[in-house]
């Protein structure tokens, strides 16, 4: 190989560089964009007002699917909250534990939307109670 040794060295370095760049890019692990899990069916949500009363002091918990949407001590005054549910409706699980163990008590739950009542149900228990409140955005289903 003829020519200036410096020029030859530069050409070899350039060759290695040109080959190296794609090799380097291939071997680099790139961080992938996070996988976005889309829900099976995209649901529209509506807001509903819940009013919860109890015949005796107790702790009330309301779950929508597996999410807790309300958890409070309820005493003489009714508790109120606003929650979001799918517009196709939801089955809310109401659980309550009386402050006094074994006491016979009742919890009344009312759900409304835009000023109209959707459902009104009472659950009874001794010390503890559990029930399902079926809420539909358009009509009373329970």
């Amino acid at each position: 190989m003829r020519g200036n040794p410096r020029l030859r060295l530069a050409l070899v370095a350039l060759g290695i560089g040109l080959l190296g760049v794609p090799v380097w890019r291939i071997t680099q692990t790139r961080e992938l964009p996070p996988v976005v899990k889309t829900p099976a069916v995209v649901e529209d949500l509506i807001q509903i007002d819940l009013m919860i009363e109890s015949s005796a002091p107790c702790r009330v918990e309301v779950m929508n699917a597996n999410s807790r949407i309300f958890s409070e001590e309820v005493e003489s005054a009714p508790a109120k909250t606003t929650v979001q549910i799918p517009n196709v409706g939801a089955d809310l699980v109401v659980r309550a534990t009386a402050n006094e163990p074994g006491q016979r008590f009742a919890v009344r739950v009312r759900a409304g939307h835009d000023g109209s009542d959707l459902v009104d149900a009472s659950f009874w228990g001794d010390g503890e109670l559990a029930g399902v409140l079926a809420v539909s955005a358009t009509k009373e289903v329970r």
Binding site: A40, A65, G89
Partner: protein, 305 residues
């Protein structure tokens, strides 16, 4: 030696007479022959010690393919009450009644429930009128219907054996209370599923009453009977529906070949959610009605959650 010979003769006589005897003979128990594993369970619970339940159809048998043989007909004719699901579930029932004659009382709780009718696409609808054509006969998947059946069995037992009335009433009362609790337990369990997830893809169209009670949509692979074969167009349509609804799991049954379901899982990415007991009780974990209901509900909710 003489004693041994006599002993052998008595033993042989005992074995022969035991084989010749029909159900309940030699005891004062009321004999109930059952063509349904679910009704066998109810009859055992309500009847208690006063009743001998003879299972003509056994857990795990496919009732859609079952027909009683000559031995079964003889057993049935020697019983006092015969239990059948009705609503066309036992296609041989009228023939059997004619063959058995006037002997036993036939109790068919399906005739006392409010039936669900199927349209051409096998979707379920409520109707007030009753006939077996196009009716879903799997009524026991509604616990409310199970309670009707328990009351019917109680009344039939009292009619045939009035002396046992207090026992039958007490047993039925306790069991009806247990069914109330079971119903509540199922409601709480199903409430864990958002309504949009309540889509059931099952081997055959047997869970309509369950779907009606708990707000599920059913996409069956087969028709109402396990002998119905799905067409390739139906499978193609089903794959489209499963994909568009984003169904997470599809379910097999305890008594059939889940080959088609496996094909569906391959095509759609849904998983096999587990085995359901659709046509009656199984052995082991679904050996009673309450265990069967719990198993089905937990399997469905666990897979679709």
């Amino acid at each position: 030696m003489k004693h041994l010979t006599l002993l052998a003769i008595f033993w042989a006589w005992g074995v022969c007479s035991a084989l010749a005897q029909g159900p309940g003979q030699g005891s004062d128990k009321l004999v109930v022959a059952s063509l349904s594993t679910v009704l066998s369970d109810f009859a055992r619970i309500v009847g208690g010690d006063r009743v001998e339940v003879v299972e003509i159809l056994k857990p795990g048998d496919d009732p859609h393919l079952f027909e009683p043989g000559p031995v079964d007909v003889k057993t049935i004719s020697q019983s006092q009450i015969v239990l059948a699901n009705g609503l066309g579930f036992e296609a041989y029932l009228e023939k059997l009644k004619a063959g058995v004659g006037q002997g036993p009382i036939f109790l068919v709780p399906g005739e006392a429930v409010r039936p669900l009718f199927l349209d051409n696409d096998h979707d379920h609808h409520d109707h007030d009128h009753s006939h077996a054509d196009g009716v879903d006969p799997h009524w026991w998947h509604s616990i409310s219907n199970a309670k009707i059946a328990v009351r019917e069995i109680r009344e039939a037992l009292i009619k045939v054996d009035p002396a046992g009335a207090p026992a039958y009433q007490n047993n039925a009362k306790a069991y009806l209370a247990a069914l109330d609790e079971l119903e509540k337990e199922c409601k709480l369990e199903v409430a864990r599923l958002p309504r949009s997830h309540r889509v059931l893809v099952t081997s055959h169209d047997a869970l309509g009453y369950f779907a009606n009670d708990y707000g599920f949509t059913i996409l069956p692979v087969q028709g109402i009977s396990t002998s119905d074969e799905p067409s390739s167009q139906k499978i193609k349509d089903l794959i489209g529906k499963i994909k568009s609804l984003g169904v997470k799991a599809i379910f097999a049954e305890n008594i059939e070949n889940p080959k088609v379901l496996e094909e569906l899982t391959r095509e759609t990415g849904a998983k096999i959610g587990g085995v359901l007991y659709a046509d009656g009780l199984g052995e082991g974990k679904a050996a009673t009605y309450a265990e069967m209901v719990r198993h089905n509900v937990k399997t469905i909710v666990g897979a679709l959650e």
